[in-house]
Subunit: 215 residues, 4 copies
């Protein structure tokens, strides 16, 4: 079974989820009971910050998904369902984003819970992507086998991503804004890590998957 | 007529429907008149349960749709319209999910009606998928003919799925939560039934459609 | 320029528009100020009827779009923009559907205006599709030229569709429900007209476009 | 890396964003506290105007995106992220459209801010598209090199588009409706500029990208 339709369906889900994020930016008004637009937008800053972070995170996971499936020679039914698990967390991102946007400034237990949920959805996505990757390697879906060094690098990358998101869940109960900022730093790091100029001889340019994103 | 664009359009509909499911998870607040976030989320449990079941059910029907059309050599106009009938029920799932999520805890006739509608949409989807399958077999769309044994297996699978959803409609008027739980059990069963390890000699690995999902 | 990406983008728009239709079915409640679910659903009948008609109409135009572009050897920039005009009306259908669903039972000028808008969007879609078809013929995009008889048949089909929608706009000011019923009859007619069994020697089976839908 | 999946994902985002625009057209009512439908629609005119302009602008950028990537022989990771930056602004268009639709008639600072935001999103989209184009040229992604004359033409086109949007941001603080009208004129100009009949010997018909839209 080739992966064409899995990719088309996944692209559709990624595209809808990333576009629905912006629905949450809506401001109310105008009217007697509404402050000026500038004041509303300023007041609304967590929505804009969470929107940008979620957009970048879905974008990175899409790039990684694209890279991973490009290197798969075939997919089987189990992989279709593991992919659905990944999409389950992707689809949950607009909800988690809307919740942290609404509750971040409420402070206290509500803000912490919303931030922990936000990081938890990213962690679920990260674990699902790791499952996709390992399932692909163990059942010989890769067109070209990984070298031991590439395998170690992938383990390190997945490990770091997972640890950061788990740290983010913990940090949420200390400071919700700090936890949100951590998600943003992870996204910025991965974008620059993935687009840096590399020497032509680097083994990472061999066409292997480089699943180094939030997953 | 090849099936490429039918699949692309269907994938788009599946992807939008599965992603819109999460819109229904939104919590209100914060504010003076809203309980704490944790209390709201706990109160909101039918929305999360119905979301997970609907996500899994759309995912399974997508896997089956993918498998079925992969085995079709060609499609005709009638098949395009039968496929539209299937998509009609898929598109109705977010509405049915939102209704059961809102009314399950109301109890009484309202909860029963919402659960019966939920099962009814799944039953409509199941019958439409069976129509797609039979139309494909009868008009020679399959690339490889089914053996009599495979035909019997498919009849049994469709029969079981239909009977369970009809039972679910009846059960809704006894206990709406039990009817919802039945939908969840069906989804879990099909996921494991479809991803189990099979012996290499199994006739099910011959590339034939295995439309064993909720349809 | 081949038509692959035009079709992919159009399929995306058709898929999102057809799925958004169902958002309008949402019922409110439960709560003290809401009637029973069964009463709400019964009260809501124009939403369900308009949903089914709009779904069928978008489905038919998608089938025709699919058939038309399958017969085009190439597309140019002008065709991309004419296609965007068609999509403009498709994207407007969920709005027109929501408006007639809300206002049909209000009666009077409001109901008539909502029904006229609904038919007007279909008429706009129909004219855009005719433009796509004529542009394709006049600039030699068709892979196989139409025979004079096929050209006459297409003119008759487009003429009938256009006349019925214009009649529907007029009928809206006499009876809004009758105008809505007319849209439904058109959809039912086209579905059966397009899926009827035809004799093998019919010139309509020659692979030519049969743009006989609402367009 | 070929550009197939980048285009599929981008098409999905364009399709969802262009379809979500229409959600903002919804009118409320009917009911005792609502004016007649005709009055509501007339009152709602900024929503319809902004809808038409945003639809045309997304449509033009899609046509340009299609043309640009058709001429790329390959894409790399950096281009995937520059494309995500473009999509970030595309996804923001429904929000900017809803805001100007709501605030245009409020007048004063609110109307100006909403119009400046609207033009600002278009300017961001325009700069992102220019980045995509330059990145493609500088890193040899183009299948056929541009002639110096074509390069100069592209610079002039990008320059004009950027200057007009910056002028639109400034104009917003003088007159918000005039700024909105300017966006509409730009869209109308590009549609006609791109679809005009050209002499066969024109170098613009050589299959090169003609990214002359709002980007």
């Amino acid at each position: 079974m080739d992966s064409g339709r899995l990719e088309a369906f996944s692209d559709g889900v990624f595209a809808v989820a990333i576009t629905l994020l912006a629905l949450n930016l809506a401001v109310s008004g105008p009217g007697l009971h509404h402050p000026a637009l500038a004041a509303q937008l300023a007041d609304h800053w967590p929505a804009f910050v969470a929107y940008a972070i979620s957009f970048a995170t879905i974008g990175i996971i899409w790039v990684n998904h694209h890279t991973l499936f490009r290197s798969f020679a075939r997919v089987d039914r189990t992989l279709l369902f593991v992919n659905l698990l990944l999409l389950f967390f992707v689809v949950s991102i607009p909800f988690a984003t809307a919740t942290i946007a609404a509750y971040l400034r409420a402070g206290g237990a509500d803000a912490s819970l919303s931030a922990a949920m936000y990081q938890g959805v990213f962690e679920g996505m990260s674990i699902s992507f790791a499952l996709l990757f390992w399932r692909g390697i163990r059942h010989g879906h890769l067109q070209v086998a990984l070298t031991p060094r590439q395998g170690r690098q992938a383990i390190i990358r997945f490990g770091i991503g997972n640890l950061v998101y788990i740290a983010g869940i913990g940090l949420a109960f200390v400071s919700a804004p700090a936890s949100l900022a951590l998600s943003g730093l992870v996204a910025v790091y991965y974008i620059f890590e993935q687009t840096q100029v590399r020497a032509p001889a680097s083994p990472d340019q061999s066409g292997q998957p480089r699943p180094s994103g939030p997953a």
